[in-house]
Subunit: 204 residues, 2 copies
């Protein structure tokens, strides 16, 4: 970085003033306020952790948050440890029973997913909650463990005053179509491929 | 979803057993364990919230976490509210002073960014900390408010027992090159474009 002269600073500051004005104009056009249907998908890392980060943001505004985890039931995870050690913070329910390659029992997977979805509907309909995270729901939809038709139908009728965030790779097109905010998490570089083990705090 | 027959279930379960075996083999090849240099970049939403979610994971494992926010100083955010209301959880330092289009003072931006970087170096070198988040550092690097050369040089010598996560769009190629884990957050659908205001708990 070269030392900026006073001239360069004045130019920069004038440009920033124009950017600020343009942003103010843009923001004035954004008037809709209601709960968002959010989808985190893609093959990259960070879909669930980003949802947990939004939970922290929401808690910081005094909102009430619930998480339903669809597929990590049998694992010990940092988020499970944290939220179970701080039960006053939010409602955290682990309904799945590990990934299906651990259970190897499709009938049991379907039963667990159905129970998780019933609980999710209750939480979505409960006016106390402002933010609902359905973690890895996309995975059980992708595998047809739950039926996308039924879930899309329910979400169309959802109460619009709360946010719902659905995570997991391979989100169904029906869900992307109806969502307000969709981010694709794209893997650029992953430590697994360089021979790293899954790391505490990062992967789980 | 059609009712699965016993045959279909048996087939599924056998396939899952093969997947499980393949995964076990793959995991056995992953032997490296050390702190990761993580970069969250791209134009999509979720880069910072994903870092905060990893903070939650790390806290769940009893790790010590520090966050330095480079550019959100003057804003009220959910994460600031939450971490300041729960000061025992982690070290949270807000060093930036709003985005540059709010300050319109490049000299002040440079001074604030330099102070944030000095503090970041202390936290990285402090053996007490296991996870350091440098939130929106990419932005001040993109704008040459800080010099990528100096920062890359320091990061090459970093202590390898801790994770460092750097967020912000337009990550410098030098940083992507040296990182262990890079995710590109790609915007698929953003509510701003449909006329939504920034929503509490989601955007801030």
């Amino acid at each position: 970085m070269t030392e900026s002269s006073g001239d360069q600073h004045a130019k920069h500051n004038a440009r920033m003033k124009r950017v600020q004005a343009a942003r103010a104009k843009m923001q004035a056009r954004r008037t809709i306020e209601r709960g968002l249907l959010i989808v985190h998908t893609g093959n990259g890392k960070g879909k669930s952790s980003s949802a947990f980060g939004m939970a922290i943001r929401s808690l910081g505004w005094g909102m009430k948050v619930a998480v339903v985890q669809y597929v990590k039931g049998s694992w010990e995870t940092g988020e499970k440890n944290f939220f179970q050690a701080n039960p006053d913070l939010l409602t955290f329910e682990v309904m799945g029973d590990g990934f299906t390659w651990d259970t190897q029992d499709r009938a049991q997977d379907i039963a667990a997913a159905k129970a998780a979805w019933e609980r999710s509907k209750e939480l979505i309909m409960n006016p106390e909650y402002d933010f609902i995270i359905l973690d890895e729901l996309n995975i059980v939809l992708r595998d047809d463990t739950l039926d996308i038709g039924e879930i899309a139908e329910f979400l169309k009728q959802r109460p619009l005053e709360k946010h719902i965030c659905i995570t997991g790779r391979n989100a169904k097109p029906e869900l992307i179509e109806m969502a307000d905010l969709v981010t694709e998490f794209e893997e650029v570089k992953h430590p697994f491929k360089a021979g790293f083990k899954a790391q505490k705090g990062v992967e789980y």
